[in-house]
Symmetry: C2
Subunit: 352 residues, 2 copies
């Protein structure tokens, strides 16, 4: 058990930005919400997975939408709590703990804000160990945990509670509603009992995000290589360094989709749907989902989200291994390259 | 108080088809559901508006979607009850009466089936006095009654409960979910107290539908003019007789939209979004929403829905005055031609 105070947020948000693999939404906005909530309600208590009682009601609280929209349409800061309360009403019981559904991007920070507001402790872990674009792409799906009832709340005051026959159906219906609600909504869903956390979460990922962010900051302060520091913490490999020469981006179906092209020694192409899904070096695939494909500013080591990617940026692309449960057949069916329509198998990372 | 048995359904469905003004979904499918429900559970008791206690909980139960889809994707027959139960769960009380949200089309029959299944009485009336394409286009909106909580259920077992900040927002979000759910779902929404029925409903429209259907049938049996019989019951005017020469039809955004062209003495063009919205004779507008623009088979007097409209059909177009509350400024703002994007005012009907 420890506490997250305002001081931890900068490092944690930086690390979460890297773990967001280009997507997950810029954690900057979430950091502001978390900072304000902690300022108002005090630090948030964080428990390790092992410290959570078996009968706990652990509720992931998150933001759904296109990161491109989050840039312009900021959350009001109360929608998460509205979604949580709507979910509790249909559950007939109250949440005992909050947990991030994904550690990558804004959804590392939103649960901190929600936990502070609700006066609830947080669990150190998340249901992905990264960010993924769709709601069913969580470890709980792999162990048969439903993501409904799912509560969705928007900034205008609209809420809905969904009960779906599968986690895919919940994603499909919630996404369509999300688009109408302004492409940026808050969700509470995929409720876990305390005794499901070991199988349903990647442990200690908030701590990992903070370590990652700290390593980059410290390396920069010490005039060391911040990208190398990130690679070391991630246990990853450097895939490419170069300059962004082209970005094609469109917000469709509730997602930010597109492709970026980098030039350096050869070229690297990155395909994304919110998150980076595939990296091709000189036409050959070098990394695929569900591994993490992270883009960092070469000089500063700061994460570069897909919506911030622009011509001229000098970036380094880093591959990092995902949680091993994602590379099982069931994991790949849920979030592997073929799910996203690519005619290729998952390719384990190798050093460039 | 009276009972609706299987014998009443044919006439009532025919009349409801006419009152559906081209949309509302072919009542044939609903008639089969109502017939089966009555066969299984017995006749449905129907109360006049005046007979309903002031504290009654009157729940409209309906089908939402595109009539073109209803043709191919039949309701399972249990979704209405699922929606009703989901609504009751959030209301925290049970429905005492069922009522049609619209008398036009399939939604005259769906509530009969639901009432039989639920063992509840029906109220003789509806919230439109016709059919309209969107969920907020009901008299309850004009008196400040919310259409949420709204429960939506599909054939697959997905349900959602919506709480929206306005009746327009509920339509917008539910429609998007409806499209994902297969463009044909069941809804329970716009709950009325017994003492709101006088202002929130058009009275006795199930009886009107039955009379209208009977008048057409009797005229046909007596070799009289069935269209004239319908016009008499409707208090309407004959706008045009001719042959369908062109139909443009597309199912977009959860609606069946399009235009039909008729030739006779001159031409008549009909624009529709599920329902007929505008009739232009030789280029000049002769009838607009919210008045009823009904298309009848010239020989048989049977209603012709927009999805059944096809080249060569000989039809007569009848205009009938809507409930006077629709032609108030607030009514026209909700369902007048300008709402649908036409740059014209409502034009009261005149004899052709």
């Amino acid at each position: 058990m420890r506490e997250i105070g305002i001081d931890a947020l900068d490092d944690m948000a930086r690390g979460a930005g890297i773990l967001g693999t280009g997507g997950g939404g810029d954690p900057y906005v979430g950091k502001l919400l978390a900072r304000e909530a902690i300022r108002r309600h005090g630090p948030v208590t964080v428990y390790d997975i092992d410290e959570v009682p078996a009968d706990a009601t652990v509720v992931p609280v998150s933001s759904m939408g296109a990161p491109t929209v989050l840039l312009e349409k900021l959350p009001g800061g109360t929608e998460e709590l509205t979604a949580l309360r709507a979910l509790e009403a249909v559950l007939g019981r109250q949440a005992t703990h909050i947990v991030p559904i994904e550690v990558g991007g804004v959804n590392s920070m939103i649960p901190i804000a929600a936990a502070a507001q609700a006066g609830l402790p947080l669990v150190d872990g998340d249901a992905m160990g990264r960010a993924f674009p769709e709601a069913q792409m969580v470890l709980p799906t792999l162990i048969g945990v439903r993501n409904t009832p799912m509560a969705v709340a928007d900034d205008k005051g609209n809420t809905l509670v969904l009960d779906a026959v599968s986690n895919h159906w919940a994603e499909r219906i919630a996404r369509a509603a999300c688009v109408q609600m302004g492409c940026q909504v808050s969700c509470a869903d995929t409720v876990l009992r305390g005794d499901q956390l070991r199988d349903g979460l990647v442990p200690a990922t908030l701590t990992l995000a903070e370590e990652l962010g700290r390593a980059v900051r410290v390396a920069r302060a010490e005039h060391a290589d911040p990208v190398a520091a990130a690679v070391a913490v991630l246990g990853g490999v450097t895939l490419f360094s170069g300059k962004v020469v082209d970005v094609e981006r469109r917000t469709t179906g509730g997602f930010a989709r597109g492709r970026a092209r980098l030039e350096g020694t050869g070229t690297l192409e990155l395909d994304f749907q919110n998150e980076h899904l595939l990296a091709r070096r000189d036409g050959a695939i070098v990394a695929t989902t569900p591994d993490l494909i992270c883009v960092l500013d070469t000089d500063s080591g700061e994460p570069v989200t897909t919506e911030a990617m622009r011509y001229g940026l000098r970036v380094t692309v880093v591959g990092a291994p995902c949680d091993p449960r994602w590379t099982t057949p069931a994991g790949l069916e849920l979030a592997g390259p073929r799910y996203f329509g690519y005619d290729c198998d998952y390719l384990p990372l190798t050093a460039a």
